[in-house]
Subunit: 208 residues, 2 copies
Amino acid sequence: MRGYGQYCGLARSLEVVGDRWNLLIVRQLLITPARYRDLLDGLPGIATNLLADRLRDLESAGVLERRLAGAGSVVEYALTPWGAELRGPIESLIRWSTPLMVRGPEGDAFRPEWLALAVPALLDTRVEPRPSATIGLEIGGPLLQLRAAPTGFEVGPHDGGDLDATVRTDPAYVLALSAGALTLGDALAFGLVEVDGDESIVRTVFAA
Amino acid sequence: MRGYGQYCGLARSLEVVGDRWNLLIVRQLLITPARYRDLLDGLPGIATNLLADRLRDLESAGVLERRLAGAGSVVEYALTPWGAELRGPIESLIRWSTPLMVRGPEGDAFRPEWLALAVPALLDTRVEPRPSATIGLEIGGPLLQLRAAPTGFEVGPHDGGDLDATVRTDPAYVLALSAGALTLGDALAFGLVEVDGDESIVRTVFAA
DNA sequence: CCGCATCCTCATGGATACTG
DNA sequence: CAGTATCCATGAGGATGCGG
């Protein structure tokens, strides 16, 4: 990216991550370290030359690093500690996007793994005390699990363990949760929603 | 901007504010509503056609609005409520930029008004209780004032009222405050720094 | 002057083919 | 699989014009 030449934190940040695709690459690596092919799959629409360019840029800026993983010493990309701190700005933008997300997918590509970032970003973490529960999320891909504990939330692939409940819903509603005064965190904490049902859980939260 | 076609909050946010200059325009309007000429001045390096384009884009996206202000019914640009909520993502990026800012200006343009966003973003608001004080900041432009109160911080132009102290320093150090474990908020709260002195206050904070 | 619109040039992005 | 190379389309930046 052409620089801005401004001594301003925002401008300097954007000189590093403001280029097209850059923050989306960071998004993928926040979900999990990945190989080149994984990134191509997780970033539908990116051109191969652009991905290669951006990986070089972000590596030399100190946001991510190439490393050798596995047996065959395959190249893998992972965020540096500083790069991982982009979780804050990214979660903040995800919260800001709620009015754009309630419109629904409208034909856009969707990957369940993206919820691993969005759900924690949208859940209200201020509610205390919070009950401990593990909820399965069926949203059209592999089963995800949401672990809610007094100390926070954690979302990832289902580890095969016991689930307190399973929710099947549309990603549009999961992602739109923070639009209202009530969040899924609230709803779980106050027992306002019934799990183990069908998609009605999220619609119920919305109606309240 | 060309869209991403991804049903992801981050991607949809970037389709609105990810274009070059867009977030910097929002930065200027977070400081204060402004006219076209003010924006040109506050965004050194932007081309006039780009500013006009981006203002149109951001208006139709619902981030800002044109309005008639003053007597001569001059056009003025101001953020919508939704646009103003970009303060969160922007402050988050400003905090992330600290390693980039500690290098100093290096010839980049600097406008004191930018501190009105950066200082509150970098001050640690978790420290409680916080003393009430009004500090003047001399950083090379018009005198700014920082009002610290138990409920939060507020930075703006000096309103002519009494100041508890005045600090003269370099913007590089003000902006780099959050790099260490100690923040200006901490330093004020714990009485670790002496104000009314010269730039040594900030260097002292840094050394601690 | 202020608030843009036009024109032109060059850098960047995107799609696809290709290679070690 | 992990990228390069190539070619074309788009967008940025700078200069200038122009009506109010």
